[in-house]
């Protein structure tokens, strides 16, 4: 028998789900945006680039802090038709991308949850104890 859910338990459950979602979205951003495809930050250009500097570039600077060690720094720039530039940086594009990745995870998980429930509902029809429509 299922125990009734208390408001405190519901809050804790929602909080845990939000935490898991935030963690997953952050990890996805670290792997995809920083590890594999920093150019993804260009997708956020419509949010950060002014109208007169519409062309986004993700500039990579590499420098060596110690022998045998190379560090990379990424930054989003917006460029205008005359070569004028504005630096946006990489923090805010990453924040926006983390939110977008979180939304994407929600959509994918929601799709599988809904599909699973529909399958279970279909299987349940016709099982003993379920109402069956009378034959004509």
């Amino acid at each position: 028998m299922n125990r009734p859910t208390t408001p405190r338990g519901a809050c804790l459950g929602v909080g845990a789900l939000v935490g898991i979602l935030l963690f997953s979205a952050s990890m996805l951003t670290c792997i995809v945006t920083i590890g594999i495809w920093p150019g993804e930050a260009k997708l956020t250009a419509p949010l950060f680039c002014p109208d007169d500097k519409p062309d986004p570039y993700v500039v990579v600077d590499s420098y060596s802090r110690a022998p045998g060690e190379t560090s990379y720094n990424f930054s989003l720039y917006c460029m205008g038709s005359r070569g004028e530039v504005e630096e946006v940086g990489f923090l805010w594009p990453c924040v926006v991308l983390t939110a977008a990745h979180g939304a994407l995870i929600l959509v994918i998980v929601g799709f599988f949850v809904v599909r699973g429930r529909l399958r279970r509902a279909r299987r349940a029809v016709g099982e003993p104890g379920q109402p069956v429509s009378p034959l004509p």
Partner: protein, 190 residues
């Protein structure tokens, strides 16, 4: 029946490995190529660069207009350096460093006894900084279509100002001179 899961999992791991090894720079441009792109577009000269700096200095001084001795613009760094005559104490000159429309630093200038600031300064409103884009286009057309502007300076002397624009291309460098109204005087190859 043999399960296909291990094969699928190994393919996924292989794909992730390849992505991490090959990736890390997908969709990026390095600093050298980025600077070359800026140069191909003319060097990043816009009238907003000096205008934002002038507005920031005027705000700091609490005046509408002010006199200056020299103004230097470095487009790649969005840096403007202006020697400004103090409107409250006109015998003083200060160097204002403005980056992206924000005054970063103000440093007093040590002047010799012979300096005549009345002759060596001019009101900033009398110089056509709002025509800077047209001036850059005219200078590049006269110099080399593939050229770009590296720096601009305006210097006041004898109650007028001369604007100089440094130009470079892969094969040459030159200096373009303009009147305070923004009309091209000459382009001299160096």
């Amino acid at each position: 029946m043999r399960s296909r899961l291990p094969w699928r999992a190994s393919r996924a791991v292989l794909a992730c490995g390849v992505a991490l090894v090959v990736g890390g720079c997908v969709g990026t441009i390095d600093r050298e190529d980025f600077n070359r792109t800026i140069q191909q577009r003319g060097g990043g000269v816009t009238p907003e660069l000096p205008q934002n700096a002038v507005d920031a200095i005027a705000d700091r001084l609490g005046v509408e207009d002010f006199a200056f001795r020299s103004l230097t613009i470095n487009p790649p760094n969005e840096l403007v350096v202006v020697d400004v005559r103090d409107p409250v104490t006109p015998v003083n000159l200060d160097t204002y460093t403005v980056r992206r429309g924000t005054v970063e630093r103000v440093v007093p200038v040590r002047l010799s006894a012979e300096v005549d600031l009345d002759a060596e300064t001019i009101l900033v409103s009398t110089v056509a900084f709002d025509r800077l884009d047209e001036m850059a286009d005219a200078a590049i057309a006269e110099f080399d279509r593939d050229g770009y502007v590296t720096s601009i300076s305006a210097t006041a002397l004898d109650e007028t100002a001369t604007i100089s624009m440094s130009l470079e291309s892969d094969r040459a460098s030159a200096t373009a001179r303009f009147t305070a109204a923004g009309d091209l005087i000459e382009v001299v190859r160096s």
